[in-house]
Symmetry: C2
Subunit: 191 residues, 2 copies
Amino acid sequence: MSRKRIRDIRNEELIEATIVAVHKRGYGVVTMAEIAREAGASAASINYYFGSKEGLMEATMLHLLGKLRQAMSAGYATARTPRERLYAVMDANFADGLFTVPQCSIWMQFWANAPYSTRLSRLHRINRARVRSHFLAELRALLPEDRVETARQALQCYMDGVWLQAAQSEEALDPDEARAAAHRVVDLVIP
Amino acid sequence: MSRKRIRDIRNEELIEATIVAVHKRGYGVVTMAEIAREAGASAASINYYFGSKEGLMEATMLHLLGKLRQAMSAGYATARTPRERLYAVMDANFADGLFTVPQCSIWMQFWANAPYSTRLSRLHRINRARVRSHFLAELRALLPEDRVETARQALQCYMDGVWLQAAQSEEALDPDEARAAAHRVVDLVIP
DNA sequence: GAAACTTGAATGACCGTTTAAAAAACTGTT
DNA sequence: AACAGTTTTTTAAACGGTCATTCAAGTTTC
């Protein structure tokens, strides 16, 4: 009922405001007051809903991870061959709603700070392992075993590298082009 | 004379301390006092030498960029073929003195914060453009023109991605293995 | 003795979190 | 519909703490 609704609405609003505010000011220096202003709320209300600044950051990362997982599931549903599923894994990282400067920027900042927060590093490890196993599963169907690991490293590191670069971009990103480029890289690695 | 010497010695000491302290605590939260303690000095002396915290961070990044450039020059000196020079570009990023967890971690943090500091982003852009042009020069000798750009993206993003991953590592890194892996990736992309 | 170096203490600013009290939303009753 | 009581939501203000930077007064070096 309404009991749940308001809480959900505020959670969503505050997380969106967090993404925008962190992108604008940087993870290290953004303040509760700035995030609150972005959301049209007060700093105190953030603590009411998330308990602390760290709780808000963790919730924001969880939110983004959810979007990522959802994008990957959607791609998998229509992929039929190993190569198509490989494309799907890459495409998920460059999906329209995900591959934007603010979100790449946020991800970048979370990564950089993960080693100093047990909560963030846990999420980071889990996500990385998931992507890794997806890659391995598809690559084993496409390459001899002794080349699988090298190809996996090449592709997974490529994806990370693209985000890293995207986070620095001053113009809007082009997800279509990013996906096309990723496909070209896949085809380069697996002729 | 000594006039210059002491200043140089302190600069070096303080920058080394900065690398260690930033790695231990994180760019966003490390304090002047912590860096000073690491160097066995006082916070005030850092300002005496570097003017401000941001000045220290810029000097540290400049120092690391210098090491990188030096490693690349060293590799280039002995490389004879385009493929060897391509290896050399990669190897520079995974050189023994450079490819350590603290330094990858620092680089990561600088990258993440570059968009919020005109000084850092300037350095970042310059370095990236330099690596890019090296890659392009060698790749043009090895591939037909229409595959050069894709290969460049694959390799440059791979390098960034490896560092990103290395920054999260809890064990010491293995530069030898990293270079071998990089060579395998090059060979995968350019058969 | 001058110039370069060092630092403890003071300064001034900022920030996350808590608290207490008000506002709003909801409930059941008349 | 109106209302009194209860719960949920909101925030202004206060609190406790941290930190970069400055400065004046020392110490060392030449």
